[in-house]
Subunit: 200 residues, 2 copies
DNA sequence: GCATACTTGAAACAGTCGTTTCAAGTATGC
DNA sequence: GCATACTTGAAACGACTGTTTCAAGTATGC
């Protein structure tokens, strides 16, 4: 059972590595402290993953998988309004248990902005994946596809801006109020193309 | 004129260091490449700035100063609506020439989220400074201070979320559409407290 | 002109980095 | 039981890190 033992050990090491990176961040990651934290040796990590870079790729792949699984488990019906979708997603990912992953996401995002080659495809899918997921719920009679994508873009921006704020300040009271305001705004935007002209 | 020559050299080095960091990022910064790029030696940089950490502090201070100067130059009248303020600020900071500074901002933000002690006060003022600047324009009869802060929070989140998107994708067409949607939403939010109840 | 203080270069320091080498260990197939 | 392949530890490698040492240079004050 050499192959299965091999895989089991590898998976176990990867799980612990993910936990370590979620706790410590990626920018300062180095093999020796990581090995100590996972109960392995630098030699072992390289034996199982080939190189530090390959290990990081797998760590991020797993982190991203956790997020997409959660999105899938939300089972967002396509009949939900942008407001409802936003409310559900926000409730989930603003939970404290998601903060380490959100922190890691923003850390990698920032690093990728300065050195895209370091995380190939990260920035592209960071936007495109969410656009694809939200675009459908933003479609409405009289809305073009570009209109839907524009609204989805606003939703993504709102999520990320508010999550940045939450991770930095933990000011739940202020941010919860902001989310209420934002949700109201989303209704106004999705119910009509030009809400201003109608109220002015 | 030892003192003035000293200061002039220091300022010159700092200026070049800022340019270098705006181009290369902060995470991978090291003294020897920086020294080469600024036409100095590692010894020189430490002589003038004391340590790498102190140099980074000054670089970020200067980067932030550029941003606050620009905000001041916009001379935002307190009579402007949140929509107008947002439109003006967005038009400015979404210009391509600001992208290096925005990238650096998000890079430092992400690093600070994982290691707050590395950039003392950065996260706090990243939110508080903007809150203070935007809060006043969000005040309205019937709006409490908390209401104004909530709306300002939404504005900040929108800026940052959209800038994250712009820096990552440079998809101007989609993001410009999103900004239009977002500006419309801001009017709906600031003109009444419960725009939904009125239209539903 | 001489002493003093400021400025700078070259080199070395101790530490860490990812990775490799080498060797010993262990389990497996026959 | 023996050979073979997989697994692991200890140590070393060369390259890099921020920083310091030491010495030479240069300008300044008197």
């Amino acid at each position: 059972m050499s192959r299965s033992a091999d895989e089991a050990r590898r998976t176990e090491l990867l799980d612990r590595a993910v936990d370590y990176v979620l706790a410590q961040g990626l920018a300062q990651l180095s093999l020796r402290p990581l090995a100590k934290a996972t109960g392995a040796s630098p030699r072992l990590l390289l034996y199982y993953f080939g190189s530090k870079e390959a290990l990081v790729v797998e760590i991020l792949r797993r982190g991203r998988a956790r997020q997409t699984e959660t999105m899938a488990n939300l089972k967002l019906k396509s009949t939900l309004s942008p407001r409802e979708v936003t409310r559900i997603i926000w409730r989930h990912f603003s939970e404290p248990r998601w903060e380490p992953l959100m922190r890691l996401f923003f850390e990698v995002y920032g690093l990728a902005l300065q050195d895209r080659a370091r995380f190939p495809g990260f920035l592209e899918s960071a936007v495109d994946d969410w656009l694809a997921a939200l675009e459908t719920c933003c479609r409405r009679p009289g809305f073009s596809r570009d209109d839907a994508r524009a609204l989805a873009t606003v939703m993504i921006a709102g999520f990320r801006g508010l999550l940045l704020d939450l991770c930095a300040t933990h000011d739940r009271a202020r941010i919860d109020r902001a989310v209420d305001v934002w949700l109201s705004m989303l209704d106004a935007a999705s119910l009509s193309k030009e809400p201003i002209d109608e109220t002015a």
